[in-house]
Symmetry: C2
Subunit: 215 residues, 2 copies
Amino acid sequence: MTTRRLGSAEAAELSRAERDIRARLGDRPFDFRAMAAISNIYRAATTVRNHMEQRVLGEYDLSWSAFTVMWVLWIWGEQETRHVAAETGTTKGTLTGVLKTLESRRLVLRSVHPDDGRRVLVRLSPRGLAIIEEVFPRFNGEETFAASTLTPAEQDQLAHLLRKVSARIEGGTGVAPIEAAAGRDPGAGGDRGGVDTTAPAPYVRRQTTTRPRAS
Amino acid sequence: MTTRRLGSAEAAELSRAERDIRARLGDRPFDFRAMAAISNIYRAATTVRNHMEQRVLGEYDLSWSAFTVMWVLWIWGEQETRHVAAETGTTKGTLTGVLKTLESRRLVLRSVHPDDGRRVLVRLSPRGLAIIEEVFPRFNGEETFAASTLTPAEQDQLAHLLRKVSARIEGGTGVAPIEAAAGRDPGAGGDRGGVDTTAPAPYVRRQTTTRPRAS
DNA sequence: CCCCGATCGTTCGGCAACGAACGATATCCC
DNA sequence: GGGATATCGTTCGTTGCCGAACGATCGGGG
């Protein structure tokens, strides 16, 4: 397939911003097709997250991260904190703070691992369980709403395409040539005690800026 | 890994997390199809952003927000800060901090609006211009990489589906209708299936003006 | 002129998030 | 056994990000 000029059908769908970008950069050899696909992922994600925070989570005074932590504990039950951190996509340090907040509100309970004094187990309190059982159905209702302009087949297609993008990045090493990235298992050696290493929970958050520091 | 024997074509593709969820919640009337579609948006976005920060932005000591600000100034030229805030999807308060950082590194320049002492104009410095012209091609190269497991037609399809989701949420009213809130004008048009004319810049963190806090 | 409301950018408090450093605990190996 | 090493969660410093409060500035009306 040759790189073709912008078709009118696609042009009609472009946002003003996307048209401006082509007006500004159109003469340079950028990959506008990939740019549209990838950047719209980010845009949709922030839109969805803001929607959820405003419509559902705000009412219960839950942050996104607090919700994801409770959700993980709901699905998988009592967990070691390191598993929760991996599953929610946060660092250990962040999780400590989130758990402190949740514990102060008596939504989760911490306890020391009986066989290993270094580890800490965390689980939902009865109160936390009641909250998540009330919140999640509403959350899922908003997911239905968000996807409601897509047909069922399109929803499946969207999930399918997104999984391929995630797998590409998670498995690959970047622009540097790699092979068979999609099917690889990069999780060898990681002991996560019954939790999948390669695929985090759906509502993972590792979004705010890190500053990997150059210099 | 490619075995299909779980009842549906999609089942073979589910991550372990997604299978566990169905094992835990499968007897409840949730919309698992929408859940897969929407939650994978968030997961892919997190993956993409982390990838970009580590692979490209980190080398230049740029945060994601700093990059988006510079990118907006690159495409649209000198802007009033309120426009930059709207375009990058941050609040005024956040932008102040980001601009302060960028200005301290001499990547952007601030100046008072000649006709209105309240407003502030911001533009790229020559140094900032050099940086973004060096960074963006690499950024776009990583977008190409991220999308490289998709065919061109699939990339277009992905962008198309995501635009429909974003438009639904940005223009729609949600499950529990809210009006007023005002602040931003989500374009006329209302609920037409998918074409979005008032979208912000691609790499935005979308933010709505008024957030009805609980209690 | 001068007040009044509106607008704009900054400041501030609070939470989230990261990486690095740290102390405590467990395990390995001689 | 006992010291070196590894692992785990917490603490610490910095940045991002938000909403609210604030001071400065502009415009209109009396």
